[in-house]
């Protein structure tokens, strides 16, 4: 996988306390994925536990004593800046870091972490978010859904769900959990695992999603929709429109993701709430998930597909 822009690829692994993040990461490393990656483990507690489990990583750093999304934010930014610095300085690392796997603490909200990286004047040029994987506890997940508003913020940031401990979970509860994930983040792929290895999930068809703990969060239904960018809508039109949309509705437009063809090449565009990541130019033929070019997915609430289409149409050149 060659990258055009030379930025470090970052994979975030989130999920509630005890949801199986470290087990999943350890298995990925064991299988040879993320080989050569720098693994950063963030512990909210002072006592590092996870780093013992993750001894298989080629390189590893520990961020203890605070969540990277709040109290540990400065420490995380400092660590990442140091990684970038060593990578670009002559006589720095013998094998520069090209990939980072950041396991967040179980109490972290991935949204502010993405924002911290996107708003840092150094990191924004050196680090690109590849994917946010959110681990969901197959056994205890439903109770967290009902009781923890934080769980929902984690779930809304996901590009991919990994439902853990599938072998020990009640099949009915699992179906309900999968249905709940689909209602929180529609269209986000869901995989089952046992000790990090893939395991089949039951079909959630007809299962009732669990009511969510709101904790001051919005209860309106979340919609996933796709807009096709037609020939009247070039990159400039789309970018102007999206900047206006996120300015006005950034709290409601939870995720935007898609690949758009522009004069500069194929741009991978993604946002988490108001933060749009500096778009990455993809090589021709490189597949970014299952999305087709010039199709952009929107996940959010308080708007309809028709509204988006109509609004974008008003920005585009008249027919």
């Amino acid at each position: 996988m060659t990258r055009d822009d030379g930025r470090i690829r970052l994979t975030l692994v989130g999920g509630f306390l005890g949801s199986g993040k470290s087990t999943w990461v350890r298995h990925q490393l064991h299988e040879g994925r993320f080989s050569g990656a720098l693994v950063i483990v963030n512990e909210a507690a002072e006592a590092p536990v996870d780093n013992v489990l993750l001894a298989g990583a080629a390189r590893m750093e520990l961020l203890a004593g605070g969540c990277a999304c709040c109290t540990g934010r400065e420490a995380m930014v400092a660590l990442l800046r140091d990684v970038c610095d060593r990578r670009t300085r002559p006589g720095g690392d013998a094998e520069p870091v090209e990939e980072i796997l950041l396991e967040t603490s179980g109490l972290a909200d991935p949204g502010p972490i993405v924002e911290a990286i996107g708003s840092d004047p150094v990191l924004v040029h050196h680090v690109v978010l590849r994917e946010t994987v959110v681990a969901v506890d197959g056994v205890d997940g439903l109770r967290q859904v009902a009781g923890e508003p934080l769980w929902r913020r984690q779930a809304q940031a996901a590009d991919r769900f990994v439902v853990t401990k599938v072998d020990r979970a009640d099949p009915e509860e699992l179906r309900r959990l999968v249905a709940t994930l689909a209602s929180v983040s529609p269209g986000v792929p869901v995989e089952g695992v046992v000790m990090g290895s893939p395991a089949p999930l039951p079909d959630a068809g007809g299962a009732e999603p669990m009511p969510l703990a709101d904790g001051g969060l919005d209860d309106r239904a979340i919609l996933a929709t796709r807009l096709t960018i037609d020939e009247r809508t070039d990159w400039v039109t789309f970018a102007v429109w999206l900047s206006a949309l996120l300015h006005a509705r950034g709290d409601d437009v939870l995720r935007v993701k898609g690949v758009i063809r522009t004069p500069a090449g194929r741009l991978l565009l993604q946002s988490v709430r108001r933060v749009v990541q500096n778009p990455e130019i993809l090589p021709e033929g490189f597949e970014a998930g299952a999305t087709e070019d010039d199709t952009v997915a929107f996940i959010g609430r308080g708007f309809t597909e028709e509204d988006l289409r109509r609004s974008l149409d008003l920005f585009a050149e008249p027919r």
Partner: protein, 98 residues
Amino acid sequence: MCSNCGFPSAPGHWTDAGAPPGTDRVRARHRRAAVLGRVLPAWGLTVTDDTFIPGLTVSTRTGMHRMVADLGEFWTAAEDLSGRRIDPLDPDFLRRGR
């Protein structure tokens, strides 16, 4: 960055990513002004971008104006000048005919 005034201070808003530097970038700035010019009258505003100096200028019909570096600052400045919230999903805006 402009070597005289140091504007804009931060490199690259994400919306600038779609055009490589050079003539394409100038063309993209003309296009950007054209797109904004289509929709801003709905909020009583106009935009100018001469492409010789960095940034673009948003103005009211009475001549109040503000210069901004990029689209990241643009909408806040435009809302300040018009005194209204600029929401592209505003039902009044969506009802506008062509």
